[in-house]
């Protein structure tokens, strides 16, 4: 009886450790092969170009497997690009292919990403306002002086902190970012915004509110 208990206990322990081990193995393997492309036809184009350039010898099937990945990485290494296996705009343009979601202007892309991460679900004008706040910070002496400096300032934006910034922006975010870059600013110089329902910081309440758009209060 006692032995049976020990046996069951060990079996349970074994099961726990076994599953735990796999979770860990999962965690290690998940971050190594990321290929960002739009569609299978785009993948085929990439494989075709890599084959023409002598980097890829496999089938043109639109499926990015380890062979395609190796080809992409070798290509990136030879062309002085970041060797990450990710087919981003730079790699596409080096391959002579243009990206289906076009963003040659890095600032516009970055701004659109931040707007999408911070304000998707907000009314359109609220998205323009978020983009305008970022641009107002670039001009303000109290903040970094470039768009990337402002967006990636540690702890400046929650959606940058938690990685949502890496989501692909939608049309609305692009359009809002472009409008703001073109001079639209429905907040007329605001440097801050917060959601009064969720804001935890105390000092944010000391800022002078200028306008409420959607869920956000914009302030100077």
């Amino acid at each position: 009886m006692k032995k049976r208990k020990i046996f069951l206990f060990m079996l349970a322990l074994f099961a726990i450790l076994y599953s735990g081990t796999f979770v860990l193995i999962d965690a290690f393997s998940s971050n190594e092969e990321i290929v960002i492309t739009a569609s299978q036809s785009e993948n085929k184009q990439i494989q075709q170009r890599l084959k023409e350039l002598g980097y890829y010898t496999g089938n043109i099937d639109g499926i990015i497997g380890s062979q395609s990945l190796r080809a992409i990485k070798n290509f990136q290494r030879d062309y002085g690009l970041t060797v990450d296996g990710i087919v981003g705009p730079k790699t596409l343009s080096a391959l002579g292919l243009s990206s289906s979601s076009s963003y040659t202007s890095q600032d516009l892309y970055l701004l659109a990403k931040c707007v999408h991460a911070e304000a998707r679900g907000e009314p359109y004008v609220g998205q323009v306002a978020v983009a305008a706040v970022i641009l107002n910070r670039v001009d303000s002496p109290e903040f970094p002086n470039t768009i990337s400096g402002v967006i990636y300032q540690p702890w400046a934006f929650t959606a940058v902190n938690d990685g949502q910034i890496n989501l692909e922006p939608n049309d609305s975010a692009y359009s809002a970012a472009k409008d703001a870059l073109n001079g639209w600013d429905p907040t007329y110089g605001c440097l801050y915004y917060y959601n009064p329902k969720t804001a935890t910081s105390e000092w944010i309440w000391s800022r002078t509110p200028v306008v409420t758009i959607g869920e956000h209060v914009f302030a100077i």
């Binding site: 046996f7 009314p123 004008v125 109290e142 300032q153 692009y174 472009k178 007329y188 200028v210």
Partner: protein
Amino acid sequence: MEKSLKRSNIVLIVLSIILAVALVTFVVLYGISMSNQNKLKVDLENIYQRNYSELVDNINNSEIKLSKVAVSGENAYSRNLLSEISKNTAQATTNLGALPISINGISETIKFINQVSGYTQTLSNKLDRGESLSQQELDTLVELKDAFTTLKDRINEMSKNIYNGKIYDASVAFDGDLNKFTQLLQNLKSKDVEYPAMIYDGPFSDSMVNKEIKNLDFSKVTSDVAKDEVLNVFKNVDENSITYLGETNGHFKTYDYKLVTTSDHSMYVQVTQNGAKILTLSVGDFDDTQNYSLESAIDSAIKFTNLTGIKDAICVWSDVVGGDAYINLAPVESGVILYPDLVKVKVDLNSGNVVGFEASSYYTNHTKRSLKTPTLSIQNSKDEVPSSLYVKETRLCLAPLEYNREILCYENICTHEGATYYVYVNATDGEIENILKVVDTDNGNLLM
């Protein structure tokens, strides 16, 4: 009986071995996971430390150069020093921006360093133009040197403490809204010392932040009057589909409305409290269909702008991106295009409707100006354009080329190897003030 006991012992032994192997694997993987995490932490710490070291270097260098400027008088050497101080201080703010500082924690110090960068650049440009520095500017430079000496002493003192600790650890430990690292940095500013004020028109100057609004000298109206103006301009909107949203109380004061058009589009309109002028219009519209031509879009843009009360504006720039036309209009006075008073309009090429309007530059800058007569002829202005460029068209304009400075220029639209350039030649002395290149991107044409 004995046999089955033996068998169960064997099973137990085998299980124990499997368990032991699993345990070892688990521990090893856990170890790798932890060491990866530590490695990332060290990487992050190194980035922080690098930025901190550069910050200290940049502050120290600025202080030394400010002392040198204070004793070296006005000459080419000073001009270079001022320009270098501007770069050092700009770099210092970049370093500060990369450090884990709680937002708003040391904004006064960041603002001060940024303004020193703008101020020294402005003075350097002044010397470059052959002008001399005023007594007030020389006095300010001495004050800045003193302020930087304090800043330098503080930051060097602080470094001793910081290098013992870790910036990462100090950044994740919070005390109220601010992390420990920010609280340490707050010591950079003495409570009893005010940063010297810098009076200048240049990057980050206070005069740039709140530019005077020159063209809204009207009396304040009620939100009902503003609503009437909305109905006057948006003829296809039913009165019942206008919702009053509230006020904007910023640099511009407006009444804000939400409008729903007959085609079910939701529009956001801001009307100035002074004089009930339509200031901005924003509509989210992402249809790529093009039923209307750019020419008809320009017509709609001008008609709409006239309706808001802005007359005599012509199209100075247009571009089609996706299903929208972006159109810039500027008023013309005695044949001179007034670029500082730009009105920006966006027209949806699917419906032909105006879906964006922005007139804050117009109301900020448009005023009766006394425009000079150009001393340079059009032909002379073309001669000043670099010979590699072919001049297609020349027109007279008022260009906002520098901070709060408006200069009468000839705008020469030129081409070279298929690219378009805009060359601005000063209409008084023939100097080239600026050259812009039209950069054709997938997101439309940009002027750079």
